[in-house]
């Protein structure tokens, strides 16, 4: 009797220890995130003003605003998505709906995974040699946007593929069973059901694109530009690169420290907003899919 009781006690104690450990670890991860956020906010909030986000940098980037960097980043996001979204979605549809299981699919999958593992600086170099030099786009939003697009392509492919995979097979069978072709089934049944999740993946990759520095280093980013870009063949400033510049190689690093934190804050807010937007869109489209 008493040994049984001891065993039960021991079991409960072990369970409590394990549970406590996991709880502690997950809370510290959340805590750490808050500390980082709080740090940036505290250090950066002081410089945030309407002027900061709407004016040109002044006095060797120690004063004024970061408007051109915000515009540049938005342009880069736009170009990269215009490229990566359709290409990634179609590739994923091909892989999930059309290719039969076998070595072709395995190879494509492996390649996509490998592509996702390539360091971003390598994408930068590749973008420079292909888009900037070979294709003659020069240092431009087009070259930088395409390079960023290549970088997130595996992310878009993978999230789209997961979303398609989550669509129950019974819907495909029902549609095909009515004499619909594979393409009609994909377009009218599978894709609409998967769409909310695909959109989420897209917006998460926007967050990724807006924060990348290495791929734009040799393809688009300007140290300082006195004017806004007027076409996709212009160079542009970008938030992450601007942050890098004013914290490492500005004319007066100490004087621009606050500007750097302000820039970081703006960048984080952009990423945060896109994540919130992702959630909202997913809910919105999720509802719509059910109602249609």
């Amino acid at each position: 009797m008493s040994t049984e009781k001891k065993l039960a006690n021991k079991k409960r104690r072990n369970q409590n220890i394990a549970f406590g450990l996991f709880t502690g670890i997950s809370y510290s991860v959340v805590g750490l995130l808050f500390v980082i956020l709080a740090f940036i906010v505290v250090k950066g909030i002081g410089v945030i003003s309407w002027e900061f986000i709407s004016a040109m940098p002044k006095e060797g980037m120690t004063a004024g605003g970061i408007f051109p960097a915000i515009v540049g980043t938005l342009c880069l996001v736009l170009v990269s998505m215009v490229f990566a979204f359709p290409v990634g979605v179609f590739a994923a549809i091909y892989m999930n709906e059309y290719v039969k299981d076998g070595w072709v699919k395995k190879i494509i999958k492996q390649m996509t995974n490998n592509l996702a593992g390539v360091p971003s600086i390598v994408f930068g170099l590749f973008g420079m040699s292909l888009f900037v030099n070979k294709l003659g786009f020069g240092d431009s939003i087009l070259a930088g946007g395409l390079t960023l697009g290549l970088l997130v392509l595996p992310v878009v492919i993978r999230t789209t593929e997961e979303s398609l995979k989550a669509v129950e097979n019974t819907f495909r069978q029902a549609s095909l069973g009515l004499g619909a072709s594979k393409w009609q089934t994909t377009r009218n049944v599978v894709f609409p059901i998967a769409f909310p999740n695909i959109i989420t993946g897209l917006i998460l990759s926007i967050g990724r694109v807006s924060g990348e520095t290495a791929p734009i280093l040799f393809t688009v980013a300007a140290y300082f530009l006195p004017k806004l870009p007027t076409s996709i063949f212009d160079q542009a400033m970008a938030l992450p690169y601007h942050l890098y510049v004013i914290s490492t190689s500005g004319t007066n690093i100490e004087a621009s420290r606050a500007m750097a934190y302000g820039t970081a804050l703006v960048l984080i807010v952009i990423v945060l907003i896109s994540n919130l937007l992702a959630n909202k869109l997913r809910k919105h489209f999720g509802k719509k899919v059910k109602m249609n």
Binding site: G102, E168, F171, A174, L176, G177, L178, N188
Partner: protein
């Protein structure tokens, strides 16, 4: 007049042979029940009739199956046309995440019918055919997910009927339904056989007895016995059939 004729059909999932030399003919405007324990091949056989097994990688078949005299596995056969003629109802009700109306209209739209009047007419007729009209007429443009399981299944049958097939395949259509919905669907099947040739897979022996004209008993991928339902249930010739229908195994 035989509507469906299968001769020496073998079917393989990779190396595994799921069907052995099945020869079976189905008369027009009859209900044929396929019974047998799980894994006996009855669903596999059913899915050969509209080439649903084509969707599974790494499978192959031999032998011939004809519907209205046309070899459905001939390389000139258009699979989409075949499936238009051979409707299917699945085990779990699976309406699309669309409105009730659009669920039934879907088959018409993908088959190139664009005339609004024809679509509306066919949708209404099909919903009436499955005795669902009174229940849904005020919410045709609401999501099909708002219906109960039994209503959803009847909607799926209406969806299959809308494109005017001549054969209807049903893969355990009532196994996910409550008894009242089940009896509604059974009554419906009885009505439908006037116009359609129905092949139904069922686990429920009483159901096979109630609704089918002929019954085929499958066991371990072989067709053990195929006869009038009455004969199968009262004086089966094979011991395995008798053991199964009397509940000694399965």
């Amino acid at each position: 007049m035989h509507k469906i004729v299968s001769q020496n059909v073998n079917f393989y999932y990779g190396e595994f042979q799921a069907l052995h030399d099945i020869s079976l003919s189905v008369k027009e405007n009859t209900v044929t029940a396929l019974i047998g324990p799980s894994g006996c091949g009855k669903s596999t056989y059913l899915r050969l009739l509209n080439r649903m097994n084509d969707l599974i990688d790494n499978t192959h078949m031999s032998g011939t199956i004809t519907i209205d005299g046309n070899d459905i596995y001939d390389k000139h056969t258009n699979v989409d046309d075949l499936r238009k003629n051979v409707g299917m109802v699945f085990q779990k009700p699976n309406p699309f995440p669309k409105t009730i109306f659009e669920n039934v209209a879907y088959g018409l739209r993908v088959n190139g019918i664009t005339d609004k009047k024809i679509i509306e007419e066919r949708v209404i007729t099909s919903i009436e055919q499955v005795a669902l009209w009174e229940e849904v007429k005020d919410k045709l443009h609401k999501s099909a997910f708002e219906l109960s399981g039994g209503q959803q299944q009847r909607l799926c049958i209406a969806r299959a009927l809308a494109i005017q097939p001549s054969v209807l395949l049903m893969d355990e259509p009532t196994s996910a339904l409550d008894p009242i919905s089940t009896s509604k669907v059974e009554e419906l099947i009885y009505e439908l056989k006037k116009q359609y040739t129905i092949v139904i897979v069922t686990h429920n022996m009483q159901q096979a007895g109630r609704i089918s004209d002929n019954t085929a008993f499958f066991y371990m991928g072989e067709l053990i016995e195929y006869d009038k339902t009455k004969t199968i249930f009262t004086k089966p010739t094979k011991k395995q059939t008798e053991d199964y229908i009397t509940g000694r195994f399965g």
